[in-house]
């Protein structure tokens, strides 16, 4: 990578570092101590914990995208090209509230175990700056969206299961 790529990497690491520290503080309390065989956590506590984490992750993702967009993607028209370019687009996910409220978790159903492998890593290491930058842009854009989806779904589930749709 040339110097610009290094600087980009460095800036991303800097962005991630405080977030990781925060993440560590949030996740520093294991819900079950190590080695505990019969650890039972209430669903309420579990959902609370999950929502906190998802919320935090989306906040970080959103902050990263905005920083990157402001610094590296101005005037390049990346957004035009980032349409329908997430590797997770193929996954059928709700698109509005009605569809989202109809999410049901059925553990064990194979259908839900559809993996979409991310193959964008080489794009992040391409020599061409423009391509590389777009790869980063696209990655951050998709990360932002997907983390929001997760956060939203978990909150919906929490309110439905824990509070009986009465948050």
């Amino acid at each position: 990578m040339d110097s610009k790529g290094w600087s980009l990497k460095g800036s991303l690491l800097l962005l991630l570092l405080p977030d990781l520290l925060l993440c560590k503080s949030v996740a520093s309390l294991p819900i079950c101590p190590r080695g505990a065989a019969n650890c039972q956590v209430s669903l309420r506590d579990l959902f609370e914990r999950a929502v906190i984490l998802s919320h935090y992750i989306h906040n970080l993702s959103s902050e990263m995208f905005n920083e990157f967009d402001k610094r590296y993607a101005q005037g390049r028209g990346f957004i035009t090209k980032a349409i329908n370019s997430c590797h997770t687009s193929s996954l059928s996910t709700p698109e509005d509230k009605e569809q989202a409220q109809q999410i049901h978790v059925h553990p064990g159903v194979r259908e839900n175990e559809v993996y979409s492998v991310w193959s964008g890593l080489p794009s992040l290491q391409v020599a061409d700056e423009d391509t590389r930058l777009f790869a980063f842009y696209n990655l951050l854009h998709c990360l932002r969206r997907d983390s929001h989806k997760i956060d939203n779904y978990l909150k919906l589930l929490k309110c439905r299961i824990v509070y009986d749709s009465n948050c």
Partner: protein
């Protein structure tokens, strides 16, 4: 054909030219200002039109979604106002990119705006919270606090968890400029504890979705905080204030009215050495009466006893010392006793003025302290200078008092009694003591005399130590007496000479030795047969008792008034200091028994070899 084409072109050009000539042009490029979603279920976009080009322009909004190819037009241009497009729930997809374009079309042409990429997920901006209610809660024994409650905006679905809202409130006193902001989290109520009483507070609230924009502030809600001070406290404070004001007023008035007297009471003026109406010239003239009157000491209590004592001692001779033997030794300090009987030359029973040669000298010195004499008198009885001496004598019977005035007043003359001793004479102090003793006895229980006696002794002893002259001693004694006098609150202004003090003209007279003076005021006189007879403190044999006459008073013309001692046969009474009140020297009786002193020598005549007055001379007149 060519012609038709040319004509068509010509017409078109004409149109264009006409349009250009008229200033018309295609519309300007519109611009999408913002797109917002209030609840993440619908959204709206607003655009800003460009120049219309002079012709009516029609705006259209077209969009297409991410992953689709179809282009749609805005379903609702009205709901969100002019130049807006409202997408209802049916037309809204979340987590999907919208590519929106606004087209401006007029007669000439149309212009399209730049496409705007909108993802509804990230444009959520809710309405402000609603139904903000304020309540002032005042728990007992605690400070009151403000409790506020509100509701999320109506459109937002919080119950299902589709949106999670966080709230923020702000408040301020009505007239303040800065808001006090508090983050309230996800709760829909809040407590504010730090409130200024008596203020009207304004409160607002706003909300923010978990990943969106802050809403506008809600409309202001106001509440009045009541005052801290209760009515009861106010009344109490008003009462205290009024009371303080009244007290201050009273004090100010009191100070204003009686400020001078108060100052005098607190800080009494220091008596200065000033004699009221004293004219030093009077002394030079030697008019004792005038001097005394000037001094204003007529009302002094010098009882007749003391004066009589003084008068009794008529100057005969300055060669011999006359002694006044103190009757009792009990009240005298031992040391004072000793020199008296031992030293024949001491004028233990006499004052300092026993020598006419030194009289003027001593009396001059005495004059140095006339103020000391006079001041107390002036202070104590300035209003009764004309008081009869006898009266005062009766009441006070302070013999010593009379003695002092005689010292001072007779400065210019030979003293009546006792004459100042020459300095060579020793122990003048003893004379002072004796005099004091006598007077004390005469007074009886008069406390002042006792005090005076003691103090005088002290002073005299002190002065004697310093080997002062007789005059100085006299002065010291006078001073001591005066100090005593001033200290004693009793009207024993016995220091000052009185107008009618019996200053006997200088005559060589015999001395009568006063053996003692009992409480009744009776003088026990001793014929001065021997020098050492002074030692005898006890009354002599009954033989001698008959020779004693009681001096009742001294009359104006220096007449010694003797009275028959009612207790003459009782010798014991002489020895004991009577503790009873001094018997009233009955003036009436004395007058009857008046024996002219001056005539005494004519009738009795001085005995040969004796320098005292034989009281037997008087006795005849009594009878």
């Amino acid at each position: 054909m060519k012609e038709s084409v040319a004509s068509t072109i010509f017409v078109l050009l004409l149109f264009l030219d006409t349009g250009l000539l008229n200033g018309q042009s295609p519309p300007g490029k519109p611009e999408i200002v913002k797109c917002r979603s209030p609840e993440k279920e619908t959204f709206s976009c607003w655009w800003k039109p460009g120049e219309n080009g002079g012709l009516p322009t029609k705006y259209t909004l077209t969009y297409h979604k991410e992953g689709e190819t179809l282009t749609h037009e805005c379903p609702d241009y009205i709901t969100s106002g002019p130049d807006s497009c409202y997408f209802n729930k049916k037309h809204t997809s979340i987590w999907t990119m919208y590519i929106i374009t606004v087209n401006a079309t007029n007669q000439i042409g149309s212009t399209s705006s730049d496409p705007r990429y909108v993802d509804v997920t990230y444009i959520v901006e809710p309405d402000p919270p609603v139904n903000l209610t304020l309540e002032l809660k005042q728990p007992e024994d605690k400070k009151p606090y403000l409790w506020m409650k509100w509701f999320p905006p109506t459109l937002v679905d919080v119950r299902s968890g589709w949106l999670t809202l966080q709230y923020e409130i702000r408040l301020k006193p009505e007239k303040a400029t800065e808001w006090e902001t508090h983050f309230a989290g996800q709760q829909t109520q809040f407590k504010v504890l730090s409130l200024y009483p008596g203020q009207k507070y304004l409160v607002q609230v706003r909300c923010k979705p978990d990943h969106g924009f802050w809403s506008e502030w809600s409309p202001e809600s106001s509440i009045q905080i009541p005052n801290d001070v209760t009515m009861k406290d106010t009344i109490v404070w008003i009462f205290v204030a009024v009371l303080s004001a009244v007290i201050c007023l009273i004090m100010v008035v009191a100070v204003a009215l009686k400020g001078h007297s108060m100052v005098t009471c607190i800080l009494p003026p220091v008596p200065g050495p000033k004699i009221k109406g004293f004219d030093t010239h009077l002394l030079e003239k030697g008019k004792s009466e005038e001097l005394l009157s000037a001094l204003g000491c007529q009302d002094f209590p010098p009882t007749s006893d003391c004066e009589d004592l003084l008068v009794e001692f008529v100057e005969v001779d300055d060669s011999e010392d006359q002694q006044l033997m103190p009757a009792h030794s009990k009240e005298h300090p031992g040391q004072e006793r000793k020199p008296t009987p031992l030293d024949p030359d001491s004028d233990s029973g006499r004052g300092s003025c026993d020598s006419p040669s030194l009289l003027s000298k001593k009396c001059d010195e005495a004059q140095a302290n006339p103020s000391t004499f006079n001041t107390p008198d002036g202070i104590e009885k300035p209003e009764n200078p004309q008081m009869n001496v006898t009266h005062t004598w009766d009441t006070k019977s302070t013999s010593l008092e009379g003695k002092i005035p005689s010292f001072s007043s007779s400065g210019s003359k030979s003293s009546t009694w006792p004459l100042p001793q020459p300095p060579s004479r020793s122990s003048p102090r003893s004379s002072y003591h004796d005099i004091a003793d006598v007077c004390k006895l005469a007074m009886g229980t008069a406390g002042t005399a006792a005090i005076l006696l003691d103090k005088t002794d002290t002073r005299a002893s002190r002065s004697s130590k310093n080997a002062e002259t007789g005059g100085e001693k006299m002065a010291a004694e006078q001073r001591a007496v005066e100090s005593r006098h001033s200290k004693t609150d009793q009207g024993a202004a016995w220091l000052l000479p009185q107008e009618k003090s019996p200053f006997i003209s200088v005559k060589p007279l015999d001395y009568v030795e006063i053996h003692k003076v009992n409480k009744d005021g009776a003088l026990s006189l001793l014929p001065k047969q021997k020098e050492n007879s002074k030692q005898t403190e006890k009354p002599g044999t009954p033989e001698t008792s008959k020779e004693y006459a009681k001096v009742s008073r001294v009359m104006e013309n220096n007449i010694l008034v003797l009275v028959q001692d009612p207790q003459a046969p009782n010798l014991a009474s002489f020895e004991e200091p009577a503790k009873e009140a001094p018997p009233s020297l009955q003036q009436n009786q004395a007058e009857e028994d008046l024996a002219s002193f001056t005539s005494a020598p004519s009738t009795c005549g001085p005995r040969a070899g004796l320098d005292y007055l034989d009281p037997t001379c008087f006795m005849h007149s009594f009878q």
